[in-house]
Amino acid sequence: MAAIRTLSLMIESRADCIELIGGAVHGVFDLAPLPAGDGTRLELAVTEAINNVVEHAYDNQPGHRILVECWLESDRFSVLVCDEGKAMEPLILATARDFQTPDPADPDTWGNRGRGLAIIQSCVDTVEYASDRDRGLNTLKMSKRLNQSVSGQTDANAGQAAVPSHRPKSQADRHPE
């Protein structure tokens, strides 16, 4: 009964920093002997989630924090992407899988947008979104089941204290809602 293991990560809301989180999550995933493609798909899901935060939650403005937590359990790998920006409209996530099939004859259906959430949903097993208006914190939680264990192998660290959190405090000034 290994304890859950948590890694917290943070970048600034800049497009050129997004891949640092993607690479880091991929690297953590690779600690476990799992099929190689799985790490890339998780990296893709996390990248799309952070692209959305940079573009939509923070309107492409640098200087804001993007916080990510990886939770490793023996049978599950979860990634939480948190922002202190504009919340996503309810229902968007629920309808994301229904995106338009492009019609070769009609370039208007080819679209440049609206693929990110569908990609996330196809790369992980569960996706949930929650917006805590009091704290001004939005969280997208993605979770992937694991076939093999990635948890620690020894009992040397049983009975830990709670994991310290560096989740941001509410910052109402950055939260237009």
Binding site: A15, D16, I18, E19, G22, G37, T40, R41, E43, L44, T47, E48, N51, V54, E55, F99, T101, P102, D103, P104, P107, W110, G111, N112, R113, R115, G116, A118, I119, S122
Partner: protein
């Protein structure tokens, strides 16, 4: 992201390599649109060296196809890595892009 460009019988061949993600999009889009604009509009995009791509990379492919079609050109894709192939299949973009394994076949399609 590295971009290598050559021209064979009026057909532009561009090989992308590295990662094509949001931070690279403005630069890569600008350079590909310029190649389409200045060339015949017939373009082979070799993605063999693209180890990672996200949906913003897909949007570059779509922009380039649109601008090629406007001048009656065509864009075909060559050499998809597993992650790029699954991205394209998931978003059903194989409906609008022809995909080749082999440069000779891709060039024959555009001649």
């Amino acid at each position: 992201m590295i971009l290598a460009h050559r021209t064979v019988e009026g057909i532009d061949i561009v090989a992308l390599s590295g990662r094509l993600v949001m931070a690279d999009v403005p630069e890569v889009r600008r350079r590909l649109l310029q190649i389409v604009e200045q060339g015949s509009g017939k373009l082979v995009l070799n993605l063999e060296g693209v180890g990672f791509m996200d949906s913003s990379g897909l949007s570059v492919l779509v922009s380039v196809l649109k601008s090629a079609r406007i001048k009656n050109g065509e864009v075909v894709l060559l050499g998809l890595t597993p992650i790029v192939r699954s991205l394209i299949e998931l978003t059903r973009l194989q409906q609008i892009f022809e995909i080749f394994e082999d440069e000779t076949a891709a060039l024959a399609r555009l001649r």
